[in-house]
């Protein structure tokens, strides 16, 4: 046959095989692709043999995972070759390389049709296989009648019939609306009478597909199926070549039983009796044997029989027999059988009421939850989830919780969700439920969505008996040295509402409660801080008349947060402060939260969502998704978290003013979403609204922001990690970072091209020169460079030549004008063609904020008056920055200096602090003095407090964020996409931030 004679192909395959690494393989493949391309270009000289050889090579290369975007025509043209070897290659390669929408296929339809209706059987088979494999609409429209004719023709040999049945099956499956199968029930019945087991098997496959679409039409075929089963399983009436390890065609048996499962019942008593006789024989007569293959085959039949029995809802006797069998299976050593045992038990629970019998196997199933094989553990988890009810919920949930401690990442989320749902659905008493959820948060806080703790709050609020217990539990968890943020939220809420119920216990006085909560405040995120503020207000209210010391402490906190950059926190602080001055009247205003109206658990709905796409998604992705679905569940309107993600993506590539508007809208959506979803309409009085910590979820776009920053990173990946065939030889991100502090250097380099940059800056203007260098000895074609400017920069790139001659360099000047302060980055979309490869890179241009700085050194006499005159936000902003890359003070000073923020040593009396200044230039701000003060904590280098001041609010904000990025981000070579993250992801955060909103307005 075809390959054997082709030396060139064998040599090529050997060479590929001998390649030491992927790079060599790629080079070899590229060379071959180039070669094939040139050979195809002057096709005239190509013999059929050569053509065949090259097409095989193409298939081989395609199989290795390389893109083969040419030569399709040649492959398709081989279909019409007169000889088998060429034709076979043509058909095979076409069916692998092309998809149903490919234009070239249209060209082939006629040839294919001629082969199908022709007289050469092998050609018929080839053509039918192609049509089956591709199964496109056009094929279905023009060829289905021919295929149907072949299938029922009496003169057609089994060989072709088999193929015709399979071909039709695929066409029906893919285009059920195109292929006309009206009136096929008689023909199908006829086909099921077929003696030839090969044809019968193919026909049965077709039948399964037809029945699954519409069983009504095929009642007449039902007895035929039972006949087939009798013939195989009872009479063993099968030719030798169709028995497999002594079993009469197990595949046909399986398929026949599968077909029968598409009929709702079997009415005719005789047929029913006959079928059950066969099934009984299978259930009883399948023994475990030594030979693996025989064992597998017989169990394949057995499992299908079990499924059929379950479906037909047989007499109870047979059902319990099935459960007994499954119970045996889940305890065997053979992992495949154990897996299937668990899987089928779960299925069984769904169709019939056998809960009680299955419960007997609970211990065994729990053992499987600890199996070393994740596939089996998953099945066990599903089964436990399905079999759980009030009687065994305690045991099962406790097992799940225990397992949660050791479970792998891939399963944790599913596990946590399932445990939470079971606890809610089947809790024997509510205190147990609270216990479970708190444990869940404690053990797997990252995987406990907000829904889960909202639910606890609802239960506790609605059940007075539960309140002291829940508060006590929350108090206990706070004693732990490190607790999860979610735990912090739920305990703070519960203690705020109910800690007064504990007042007489040791360690639970308002002061102590406040102390232990406030201790944690520096470690929590912004949304949690707002909850803590509410808690403080509540504590204050419950301890009326207040202990003056406590009151002063809390007031101090409120007044501190009155200047918070976060609008939500600020508002709370201001209002609580004002309210708490009202003394006893506070009691009426801050009364306990009213009961929540009963509502359906959003968890359960969510479980259905998550089940659809099992735990296989990466954690980030599924979390993002989960949040989207939260919104859906809670509000019943469009997932408000979704749109920002989209605009987010757009923003990175083509920053424009529109985005700002979009973000306003998005934010509004999130806001309404939050308020609508979380605060019950019944609580509509304004204070209820404000005080409900649950309202936090929505307003400042908090949850949205979380999703954004995570997903933003994801969405961004393409910018850093382009899937070009040509990989850069330098780390683009690292080069970019270098160029942010230098004015000349290499921006990008790959085996063919180098891009260098040289820049001069003067005030708010700059002139960059891009050096595009061709490193190869052939010219680069289709060179294209487009600048995607952010809205704050005016960029003008002089024209870039389309071709770069070999070994030469072209210079392209780029003029930059800075309109206003912003951290957005301009992107250069640079593409060129080398050989067959189109290389496209999106490169960030180092025209960043600090390029528009002019160093300035100030004396103490100049600095302090300025510093004092810029007294308050928005001109002066302060923030505690955490997660700072730890570095000695000297290094930090160098970093600032390299950004042209000149550190003035000795200005600050405290040696742990740095003071720096610079002048910023833009068209809107003109020259503007910027002052920075960084206070570090020698005990904890990962956090610092930063104060930034300038005469322009936007500038202050942008500069603060900019410095923060520099301090937090890790611009190292090892993880290229990471450094990409800060710049663009900051944008959405900032735009939901008051500072940025302000910036937008300006």
């Amino acid at each position: 046959m075809a390959l054997s004679g082709m030396r060139g192909l064998s040599v090529f395959i050997s060479e590929i095989r001998n390649c030491q690494n992927k790079e060599q393989e790629r080079l070899r493949v590229d060379k071959e692709l180039g070669n094939i391309r040139t050979r195809f270009k002057n096709e005239k000289g190509l013999s059929p043999y050569e053509k065949k050889k090259y097409v095989w090579k193409m298939l081989y290369i395609f199989m290795l995972g390389y893109d083969v975007d040419f030569g399709h025509m040649e492959a398709v043209s081989l279909i019409s070759a007169p000889k088998y070897p060429e034709k076979q290659v043509g058909y095979l390669v076409t069916s692998c390389l092309l998809n149903e929408n490919h234009d070239f296929l249209r060209l082939a339809i006629n040839t294919v049709r001629n082969d199908i209706i022709g007289r050469n059987e092998t050609f018929q088979c080839l053509a039918l296989t192609l049509v089956g494999n591709i199964g496109g609409r056009e094929f279905a429209e023009s060829l289905a009648p021919d295929v149907q004719k072949l299938l029922i023709s009496s003169s057609c040999r089994p060989l072709v019939k088999k193929k015709a049945a399979l071909c039709l099956l695929r066409l029906v499956r893919k285009n059920p609306d195109v292929v006309n199968v009206d009136g096929w029930s008689d023909r199908m019945a006829q086909l099921l009478d077929e003696r030839n087991v090969g044809v019968l098997t193919s026909s049965m496959s077709l039948f399964v597909s037809l029945v699954s679409n519409n069983h009504e039409a095929y009642w007449s075929c039902l007895p035929k199926c039972v006949k087939v089963l009798e013939r195989l399983a009872r009479n063993l009436d099968v030719p030798q070549e169709y028995t497999y390890y002594g079993i009469p065609s197990p595949w046909l048996q399986v398929k026949t039983m599968r077909a029968l499962q598409y009929f709702p019942t079997i009415e005719d008593p005789n047929t029913r009796r006959a079928l059950f006789e066969v099934l009984q024989r299978v259930l009883m007569g399948t023994d475990v044997v030594k030979n693996v293959n025989k064992n597998n085959a017989s169990h394949a039949v057995l499992f299908e029989a079990l499924a059929l029995v379950m479906h037909l809802d047989a007499e109870k006797e047979m059902m319990s027999q099935c459960v007994a069998l499954l119970g045996k299976f889940i305890a065997v050593r053979e992992p495949n059988i154990r897996y299937l045992g668990l899987e089928n038990m779960t299925r069984m629970l769904m169709v019939t009421d056998v809960q009680d019998i299955i419960k007997r196997h609970q211990a065994q199933i729990i053992t499987s939850l600890k199996d070393p094989d994740i596939s089996i553990r998953r099945r066990a988890l599903d089964l436990l989830y399905a079999m759980c009810d009030t009687s065994n919920a305690k045991d099962i949930v406790e097992e799940l919780l225990q397992y949660l401690g050791t479970a792998e990442f891939a399963m944790r989320e599913e596990l946590a969700l399932k445990a939470a749902i079971l606890a809610e659905k089947f809790a024997p008493d509510l205190s147990w439920y609270v216990d479970v959820i708190l444990q869940l948060i404690d053990k797997a806080g990252d995987f406990v969505s907000d829904d889960i703790w909202f639910r606890v709050v609802q239960f506790v609020t609605n059940n007075e008996d539960l309140q002291p217990y829940a508060a006590l539990k929350a108090r206990e968890y706070l004693d732990k040295p490190a607790i999860h943020e979610t735990m912090m939220k739920v305990s703070a809420y519960l203690l705020g509402e109910y800690s007064h119920l504990l007042a007489r216990r040791p360690g639970c006085s308002p002061k102590e409660i406040f102390g232990i909560i406030h201790e944690k405040l520096p470690t929590v995120s912004t949304p949690t801080i707002s909850i803590l503020l509410s808690t403080y207000a509540k504590i204050l209210m419950h301890s009326q008349p207040a202990d003056p010391e406590l009151q002063n402490q809390i007031w101090a906190i409120f007044s501190k947060y009155e200047t918070s950059i976060d609008a939500e926190i600020q508002q709370r602080a201001v209002e609580y402060f004002a309210l708490s001055k009202k003394g006893a009247a506070l009691m009426d205003i801050l009364a306990e939260m009213p009961k929540f109206p009963e509502r359906e658990s959003s968890l359960i709905k969510k479980a259905e969502d998550t089940e659809a796409d099992t735990a296989e998604l990466s954690a980030i992705k599924s979390r993002a998704q989960q949040q989207a679905s939260n919104a859906l569940v809670v509000t019943g309107q469009q997932p408000a978290n979704e749109p920002p993600q989209v605009t987010q993506l757009g923003m990175v590539k083509i920053p424009s003013i529109n985005n700002l508007e979009n973000n306003h809208v998005d934010q509004e959506v999130t806001q309404t979403n939050g308020t609508m979803g979380e605060v019950e309409p019944q609580n509509a009085d304004i204070l209820g609204d404000l005080l409900s910590p649950l309202a936090i979820e929505g307003p400042p776009g908090v949850s949205g922001t979380e999703t954004l920053s995570e997903d933003g990173a994801l969405a961004l990946a393409p910018v850093g990690e382009q899937e070009n065939a040509i990989k850069p030889v330098v780390d683009i991100a690292e080069k970019f970072h270098d160029l942010c502090v230098k004015d000349s250097g290499v921006l990008y380099e790959d085996p063919y091209v180098q891009i260098g940059i040289k820049a001069e800056w003067r005030g708010h203007q700059g002139r960059l020169v891009l050096f595009l260098g061709n490193k190869t000895t052939s010219s680069l074609d289709a060179v294209n460079a487009v600048i995607l400017p952010p809205s704050h920069l005016k960029l003008e790139l002089s024209s870039v030549p389309e071709i770069i001659p070999p070994r030469s360099q072209v210079q392209c000047p780029l003029d930059v004008v800075n309109l206003r302060p912003s951290r957005d980055v301009a992107v250069l979309d640079f593409s060129y063609k080398f050989g067959t490869n189109l290389v496209d890179n999106k490169l960030r241009i180092p025209a960043v904020l600090n390029k528009f700085f002019q160093p300035v050194t100030l004396s103490a006499e100049e600095f302090f008056p300025q510093w004092r005159s810029l007294a308050a936000p928005p001109l002066k902003l302060q923030e505690v920055v955490r997660g700072v890359r730890p570095m000695p003070l000297g290094e930090m000073a160098n970093l600032l200096n390299s950004l042209r923020l000149i550190v003035s040593p000795g200005l600050d009396p405290n040696a742990n602090n740095l003071v720096a200044s610079t002048t910023f230039y833009s068209e809107s701000t003109r020259s503007m003095l910027c002052l920075v003060r960084i206070e570090t904590d020698p005990a904890d280098r990962t956090q610092l407090r930063m104060t930034v001041a300038s005469g322009d609010p936007t500038l202050t904000f942008e500069l603060k964020e900019f410095i923060k990025e520099q301090l937090i981000s890790i611009p190292t070579a090892s993880t290229p996409p990471v450094p990409q993250q800060p710049q663009p992801t900051i944008q959405p955060i900032s735009s939901s931030d008051p500072g940025a909103l302000l910036a937008g307005l300006l």
């Binding site: 064998s10 995972g65 692998c96 497999y244 394949a300 499992f303 596939s375």
Partner: protein, 123 residues
């Protein structure tokens, strides 16, 4: 019910034969193959032959240095697929005489041909 793809992969994770019965872009194929291979090749003899991945269930079997991986949907009889793999291997054995990776590499057309012919068992 149905098979979505068939892969033959060696111990190093290199694809030796791939046949898809639904359209995936090259990029999707590459990722899918990478993910599946990483998952399946890491498993040992004591673990079962089924792996759930995205919406697929992978039924796989190892023969010396060669892995046969079949991606099916949830409506498929796993053991029947497992034995289909064996039947395919037996057929290849019959033809090549103890089939090995090289046979499939250098006789891709025969391997494809056999796959097509055997396929009616599994579909």
């Amino acid at each position: 019910m149905g098979i979505r793809f068939i892969l033959m992969v060696n111990k190093q994770g290199q694809t030796r034969l791939a046949q898809y019965y639904e359209y995936l872009t090259l990029e999707e194929r590459r990722t899918l193959e990478g993910e599946i291979v990483r998952k399946c090749l890491a498993r040992n003899e004591q673990q079962c032959s089924f792996v759930e991945h995205r919406t697929y269930k992978i039924v796989y079997r190892r023969y010396a240095s060669l892995f046969f991986l079949v991606g099916v949907d949830n409506e498929e009889n796993e053991l029947a697929i497992l034995e289909f793999i064996h039947l395919l291997v037996e057929t290849m054995d019959r033809h090549f005489g103890n089939v090995c990776e090289l046979d499939i590499m250098f006789h891709l057309e025969k391997a494809h041909f056999m796959l097509e012919e055997m396929f009616n068992k599994a579909l």
